[in-house]
Amino acid sequence: MPIDCRHIRNFSIIAHIDHGKSTLADRLLEHTGTVEKRQLKEQMLDDMELERQRGITIKARAVRMEYRHEGELYELNLIDTPGHVDFHYEVSRSLACCEGAVLLVDAFQGVEAQTMANAYAAINTDLTIVPVINKIDLTYARVDEVLVEMEQSLGIEPDDVIKASAKAGIGIDTLLAAIVERIPPPQGDPNATLRAMVFDSHYDSYRGAITYIRILDGTVRKGQKIRFLRTGVSHEVIELGQFVPQRRGCEELVAGQVGYLVCNIKDVKQVHIGDTVTIPGDQGAAALPGYKPPQRMVYCGLYPSEGENFEELRDALEKLAINDPSFEYAPESSEALGFGFRCGFLGLLHMEIIQQRLEKESDLDLVQTAPNVTYQILTTAGETLEITNPQDVPESGEIEEFRQPIVRTNFIVPAEYIGPVMQLCTDRRATYLKTEYLSPTRAVLSFDLPLAEVIYDLHDKLKSVTKGYGTMDYEMLGYFPADLVRLDILVGGKKVDALSIICDRRDADRRGRAIVKKLRGEIDRHMFEVALQAAIGTRIIARETISALRKNVTAKCYGGDISRKKKLWAKQKEGKKRMKSIGSVDIPQKAFMAVLDTGTDRQ
């Protein structure tokens, strides 16, 4: 007998990073008997190797649970979401499949930037919020203050807040009851025409694409034909089911349920996140609004350190992109680095993760160029160019307007750090908007800032000026004109295209000096003197010199020394292999990140 909508609850767990979402999911799995206690691992849903290594959630995960409340059996579909700002779009996607959200706030940390960002996302999606203060077991828990913060920042009624500890298992049953009682059941008619939303997918080497869906209307059965509206292609449903948390097949999924489809689709590119699934033919349902595609915030060049591995790199990127549609890549070439790819990411963490996976899964040695944001240039010819690579900036004479992305940024900081954070932002040419108090001791500061400033090092700097207590969140505002220039770096008199950056004209001197100084530390001495210069156009604005190697000769090379010395020399050779030669200068791979050094003497 198909399940009645009234016995289904769909909800996401949302919170700032590390507030305990995945741990709470563990407890829910345990208390509902979905997973036996002895099989339960900590943060069980973080099953990707990288997630376990880093102790964070990267990909949202859905699980079906059963829960008996006041004699009735309920199906609870939980989606655990990532807290890191880079993966915010995973949260929004998850929210669109739910009627409610469990909002966690750490009893010691209190309301932080992603608490607010994610809570607002849920409120905007019209979800019912079940607020929870987590980690009440902590000695330093400050439950009462956090209640005030929640009320002040999000208008949450203190009486509605459930006090829990995901780690110690406190308040879990109260929470389960609240989920059933407070979150409305999904709407939807199991007998209407099939209409389902694709909210995720992944690639399984045996089954092909696994499509994650939320059924809004109708019923989908095994063996049935379905159609994806975007591609228009019809497929037979070979398998369908739910996650418990591993895949478990069933005969049908009805309106209100969350589950997966396997349709013998070999190419994941055919499955579009946000697409609508319905029946074939012209009787099908209309398309759902779908999702805004994720926005790439940063770009960098990835090059094989051995030029001949270009094809291998392409294959590896393609394989990764299959499971991560938020990542994008396109071939490009550089005089210095040869053939490679310009890749777009959601943020620096995302970039780091992709690079790590590439190196691990494909055993490729990569050269990465420093990340940059996308710029827009309005040319004198009236054309608008999207610039993802500083190399593509035209001659200054052709530029009518140079625009950079600006983000609205909220900082949540203890009141005593307001001054330093103000300073940090003013140094970065921020426009101050406002300060609001969450409580007498905590404030929200809002600024409009160039995205470039935000992603490079603002987060680290914020952590250091607030002793780790400050958090930040940003959203894209749009492109605005600015006085930008391309800063080129010359090594031994030759311009190294992969080292160029775009920066504010007023920062150019400082950045130029910092970069050549940093490069001086990265490039080994050569048999000749090497000049390092920073230039805008033909004007040199900074210079450093690496003096020539004076002496490098092994003193003793007798019978017993030769084997040992040879190993040292061979090591040098290995090191040299991993360098890029520009003219006759060997540049180590990590030097290409040197341009990130913004100079500490920021005044």
Binding site: L549, K551, V553, G559
Partner: protein, 432 residues
């Protein structure tokens, strides 16, 4: 006919003309052995026809013995040795005797070298005992060179008498400096007067003397090096080795450097010291024949030249390396482990460096180019089976263009500038 390698020694071979003659002779021998019978076209590119051990066949004619005992460990030293463990000396002799069993047929050696550690630390009786052991398996050619390393403090009249009695022809003296401050900086246990006395005693006994000098000691100035060089020349030693201090991992010096308690000499000054040594010693009549080695005509160290010719040699003792033309086998580098394993009849091998014909040829290039005579293409071809240009032709052309090497089409030599930075060149010569 066995090519008498000893012919490459002696007065004659030490002069430039002598070297050329020797090289021409060697090339001719090889052509005779491999070329005349059936000169296959392209034979040089078929190295399997010409393993080095074929070219230098027969048993090794050179032997090294490592004596791992010192009175105290100098702060910069990372050699295989134990300090203050004279209680191990008896077991060491036993272990050497065991290792000598490896040699089935007694060898006739052209050179025999006792290094360390400090062989002289064994004292006159210990030295006699060691030579006694060695004589069972290591015979000597009539004009054999027999070197013993000694510390100035050990060079007593009794020691010199024992050395002469044992047939020692050459003593390499670890003097390091004739300046009291430098000796202190180097953590040595002797003073300049000990060095002078030792040299005089050895020369009086008719022994050939090499004096080790060290440069780039912490705090050492160029003038101090200049004074050391002049003093060495004045002492009348036939051979001088000049070593730039190396900061080795795990030494007390290196630890102190990391902590900031010791500061290495600036690299530019280090280079200037090295060049000064070359200038002064050449002006005084010493030939600079390898990176660190200077000898009066006829007084090069034939034993070390055997290493750089890549001839096979035998070796005994902890950390000692032996070579058969292709494979270098190094004994365990810990003196105590080596002794224990040898006595227990276990394998005491530390490291095996097994080379292909090409790898051996490339290694020959490196050790050869560290010699001032450089590499003669014909000799190289005959000895290694590889065409010089085929292996490193374009690399060397690059060096020549950069002023790091000279090449007259026959011989390739590093210039002084090239020699100074030669370690940076080898990455392009060696294959892994």
């Amino acid at each position: 006919m066995e090519p008498a390698l000893a012919a490459s020694g002696g007065m004659d071979a030490e002069s430039e003309a002598g070297i050329e003659r020797t090289q021409a002779w060697r090339a001719e021998v090889s052509v005779r052995r491999y070329g005349t019978g059936n000169p296959e076209p392209g034979w040089a590119s078929r190295p399997e026809l010409l393993a080095y051990s074929d070219f230098m066949p027969g048993s090794p004619r050179h032997a090294y013995v490592h004596v791992p005992f010192c009175r105290h460990r100098c702060g910069y030293c990372d050699f295989t040795l134990v300090a203050g463990r004279d209680d191990l000396i008896d077991r060491y002799f036993e272990a050497v005797a065991r290792e000598l069993e490896r040699v089935r047929q007694p060898l006739e050696t052209d050179t025999l070298y006792l290094g360390g550690g400090t062989p002289s630390h064994l004292g006159p009786d210990g030295l006699r005992r060691l030579f006694g052991l060695l004589s069972t398996k290591l015979g000597r050619a009539a004009d054999a060179e027999v070197t013993v390393e000694a510390n100035p403090l050990d060079v007593t009249a009794e020691f010199v008498a024992a050395a002469t009695e044992c047939g020692v022809t050459r003593v390499s003296l670890g003097g390091q400096s004739l300046d009291a401050a430098t000796l202190r900086a180097l953590d040595r246990d002797h003073v300049p007067a000990h060095v002078r006395a030792a040299v005089a005693r050895l020369l009086d006994a008719g022994l050939v003397v090499n004096l080790d000098l060290m440069t780039a000691a912490p705090g050492q100035a160029l003038a101090a090096v200049e004074a050391d060089l002049a003093a060495a020349v004045a002492l009348g030693v036939q051979h001088v080795s000049v070593y730039c201090l190396t900061w080795e991992q795990g030494t007390a010096f290196e630890t102190a450097r990391r902590r900031g308690d010791l500061r290495p000499v600036d690299e530019t000054l280090e280079g200037a010291m090295f060049e000064l040594a070359i200038d002064r010693l050449e002006a005084a009549g010493y030939e600079h024949y390898e990176v660190s080695n200077f000898g009066r005509p006829g007084y090069r160290c034939r034993h070390n030249e055997a290493y750089w010719d890549c001839r096979p040699w035998e070796a005994f003792g902890p950390g000692a390396a032996r070579f058969d033309g292709r494979t270098r086998i190094t004994n365990h580098r810990s003196a105590t482990t080596w002794i224990t394993k040898m006595l227990a009849g276990e394998d005491a091998t530390g490291d095996i460096d097994e080379m292909t014909a090409e790898q051996a040829a490339r290694e020959r290039l490196v050790v050869g180019l560290r010699r001032r005579a450089g590499i003669d293409r014909a000799v190289f071809l005959a000895a290694s089976g590889y065409e010089f240009n085929q292996l490193v032709g374009s690399t060397v052309a690059g060096w020549a263009a950069a002023g790091l090497a000279t090449d007259d089409g026959v011989t390739v030599r590093l210039t002084r500038a090239g020699l100074l930075v030669s370690d940076s060149l080898w990455a392009d010569v060696l294959t892994t």
